[in-house]
């Protein structure tokens, strides 16, 4: 008998017993006293908001949505979901132009890509940064991600036949970053999967997962993207393919945020959607093998991105990296790098963003690795900009270590 059936509360908020553990692990609370903290913003605030939406507090926008409160909560309260869904429900302010620009990663990508060399040159200029800072409040100290001249989709389409020849097939949800900014990661994945006898296909048509739209007050657009993506992934799943990803934040959005925040049912695809590191690890565990370069040597420090921590799948990337002969492995302490997608690009968040990441940057300098491994593209921008160390997805490190 399910006794809790009739008493279950939204995002489990009634389970909160006010133990305050979440407040000890919130990275924002450590640097920004204007933020009410996860307990106050989440379950405590929810009681008040249910009474009267008047109690909605606009300071909830300071939440990073890193989900560390949820990982820490001993009572399974979905604290970050409570905060984000309160923002979706009660925040009536229209998103600013800047927020709309930052959130529309695939639209901006498709605009910028054909003019990549010019765009990259212009966004790298001090004067552009100052103008963006003054007009749009995008912090001038940020380094912008570079755009790639050719999209990953175009690259893979040219290899459709060659990929179709492999005995096993998967589909790849590459995300905006691989498509517009860094196709090399997608190429690395294709290399590793091909070495395992697996061919890679695109989805029918994928859209941005929508994570930045959710946090920037554009939940309607995000819901449209979610409905589209679930259908596109479902089509691949129906044909018997797994759908792989290389970005932990896209994956968390597709798996958790769609049903929990946007109300988009994804049960048909949930079990077939895997981070590539998990798929590869499981394949190796079942007996598949990879040939590695005998001379490979690399000192790797692995940073588990917050959303990977919430997924609970960092263990697959870690074990995979440890399997590579010649990898000298260090697991970095669990900590947020501070960027949280578009959050750290905003002028009002820049200082907080850097202060949150400081302990992680310090540890990276102390470990002094040749490369920092990480499954998240925005962590990569943040860590590279703040420490000068190169950051690579575990898949890219794996590809580099393979024998030709």
């Amino acid at each position: 008998m399910k006794l809790q059936e009739y008493t279950e509360s939204r995002h489990n908020f009634e389970e909160c017993m006010k133990c305050t553990v979440c407040t000890a692990y919130c990275p924002v609370l450590q640097v920004n006293p204007r933020y009410p903290g996860p307990k106050q913003a989440g379950p405590d605030g929810e009681r008040l908001r249910l009474k009267d939406p008047y109690f909605f507090n606009y300071a909830l926008k300071y939440c990073l949505n890193c989900k560390r409160c949820e990982v820490a909560c001993p009572s399974d309260v979905k604290v970050a979901d409570l905060i984000q869904s309160a923002r979706i429900r009660y925040d009536k302010s229209k998103p600013k132009l800047r927020d709309r620009i930052l959130a529309s990663t695939d639209f901006m990508g498709s605009l910028a890509r054909p003019f990549a060399p010019i765009v990259n040159g212009v966004t790298g200029l001090g004067i552009t940064k100052n103008v963006l800072d003054a007009t749009l409040k995008i912090d001038h100290q940020r380094t912008f991600p570079k755009y790639s001249g050719r999209s990953f989709e175009a690259w893979l389409r040219r290899r459709e036949k060659e990929q179709a020849a492999f005995p096993e097939q998967v589909s790849y949800f590459h995300g905006c970053y691989v498509n517009y900014n860094y196709p090399q990661l997608g190429k690395d994945l294709v290399k590793v999967l091909n070495a395992l006898g697996v061919g890679v296909r695109l989805l029918e048509k994928e859209k941005c997962c929508g994570i930045a739209m959710i946090t920037n007050g554009m939940s309607e657009q995000a819901t449209r993207h979610a409905t589209h993506n679930v259908a596109a992934i479902e089509a691949a799943v129906h044909e018997g393919r797994k759908v792989l990803t290389t970005s932990s934040s896209c994956t968390l959005t597709l798996r958790e945020e769609y049903p929990n925040l946007l109300g988009v049912d994804n049960t048909a695809i949930r079990d077939s959607l895997l981070m590539a590191t998990r798929f590869i690890y499981e394949k190796l565990e079942r007996g598949a093998s990879l040939r590695f370069r005998p001379d490979f040597h690399k000192k790797v420090a692995y940073h588990v991105p917050c959303h990977m921590e919430r997924l609970g799948w960092g263990v697959f990337s870690e074990k995979l990296l440890r399997l590579i002969p010649g990898v000298e492995f260090t697991l970095l302490d669990s900590a947020c790098c501070g960027i949280a997608g578009t959050y750290g690009f905003k002028k009002e968040n820049y200082a907080a963003s850097q202060a949150i990441g400081a302990p992680l940057f310090e540890q990276i300098r102390a470990v002094d690795p040749e490369v920092v491994a990480c499954d998240c593209e925005t962590c990569k921008w943040q860590i590279e900009m703040s420490t000068g160390y190169t950051v690579a997805n575990p898949i890219s490190i794996l590809a580099e270590a393979l024998a030709d």
Partner: protein, 375 residues
């Protein structure tokens, strides 16, 4: 994924077991569904005798500083309790009369520390007390969010400005021989409590605050770091949801995050805690152990679970899983050969007596001992 031993529960018992097994060369995983009772830790491993060499080593290698002396310690509301093995932060006294004149210092705006109760309790012991609310400019920014002026937030700042506190207290100090301060020191920098003691020319006593416990969180972080440094796999925020058991032997564990990817092992340790940690769950009819469905020692009639008088000894506090003499967990009357239950989930224990930390360590080490002897 295959391990030598899989441990369910990432608190004191689970981490002590995990570290000991990793040290002995095993490959282990810990499944931790949310943070644990160390966040409410008093700092005293009550009911522990003088630590064995094994335990003393485990603590010192993790960077945890403890001391041992049979006596009493000061409780947050000005009462005293017997104590022995404790974190170095905790002062241990031969008797409850530990000073003549006491200066109790709190920080202005911090409401989780009870100066006046402390003073009342100490005055009962014949000590005279003076309370001072210290106003520190460095803490002012915390006051912008009054609900969040908590031990941990203060401790983060204190790691940087502890010397300001030393200077301020030196100025405040008149003829007092003892200073009592809230336990908000040494979250990251473990040397801070010692430096404060050195800098203030009086006996310094750190008294407990409302949760979260700063020494407790520090202990948790140090143990987890040590476990991971030894190559252990700590699955934070994951939850064991079921197990595959065949003919009295556990083969694998199912978790919420890893769904179809099972965790296989030769041995398993159940250190999932009591009611708070959801190691035990209750409904109006019975108390259950949710992962394996183990036999739970409990009163059959619900009215015998509790005493109507809240302050009375509550029977449900001693409910827990049934084990045999070797700590093998029992299901349907049969002991499972490779599953050990340790810590607060055990039946017949009295956590309200403050024995939980000692029980966690002793039962964890007993299980480790058996696992290592067998393999």
């Amino acid at each position: 994924m295959k391990f030598n031993t899989v441990i369910i529960g990432g608190g004191l018992a689970g981490l002590v077991a995990g570290i000991s097994l990793q040290k002995a060369g095993q490959n282990t995983a810990i499944i931790s569904s949310g943070q644990n009772a160390l966040h409410f830790f008093s700092g005293t491993f009550e009911s522990m005798e003088e630590p064995s060499q094994q335990l003393a080593e485990l603590f010192s290698e993790a960077g945890i500083r403890t001391h041992y002396q049979a006596g009493v310690r000061l409780m947050p509301l000005g009462t005293f309790r017997p104590a022995a093995l404790s974190l170095e932060d905790i002062s241990l006294f031969p008797t409850s009369h530990f000073g003549k004149k006491v200066l109790i210092v709190n920080f202005l705006g911090y409401h989780d520390f009870f100066s006046s109760f402390l003073a009342e309790g100490l005055e009962k012991q014949g000590m005279s007390c003076r309370i001072h609310q210290l106003k520190l400019a460095q803490l002012e920014w915390l006051e912008q969010s009054p609900s969040e002026m908590r031990s941990v937030q203060i401790a983060r700042i204190m790691d940087r400005i502890w010397d300001v506190v030393v200077q301020e207290v030196r100025v405040l100090l008149k003829d007092e021989d003892t200073v009592v301060l809230p336990q908000v020191f040494g979250l990251q920098d473990i040397s801070v409590p010692g430096r404060i003691r050195q800098g203030i020319p009086a006996q310094v006593v750190f008294a407990g605050t409302l949760p979260p416990s700063v020494p407790g969180i520090r202990t948790q972080m140090l143990l987890k770091r040590r476990y991971e440094l030894l190559g252990g796999t700590y699955l934070a925020g994951d939850e064991a949801t079921g197990a595959h058991v065949h003919e009295g032997v556990v083969h694998s564990i199912v978790t919420k995050n890893l769904d179809s990817h099972f965790l296989e092992a030769g041995h398993f340790i159940l250190a999932s805690g009591g009611f708070f940690s959801k190691g035990l769950r209750s409904n109006p009819f019975q108390i259950q152990e949710p992962v394996f469905g183990l036999d739970v020692v409990q009163a059959a009639d619900r009215s015998d679970w509790y005493q109507p008088d809240f302050m009375q000894e509550q029977p449900y506090m001693s409910f827990g899983v049934q084990t045999d003499a070797q700590l093998h967990a029992v299901r349907d009357g049969q002991a499972l050969k490779n599953l050990f239950a340790v810590g607060s989930i055990l039946g017949g224990t009295r956590p309200e007596m403050g024995t939980a930390a000692g029980l966690a360590i002793r039962s964890a080490l007993a299980a480790v001992d058996q696992i290592l002897r067998r393999s």
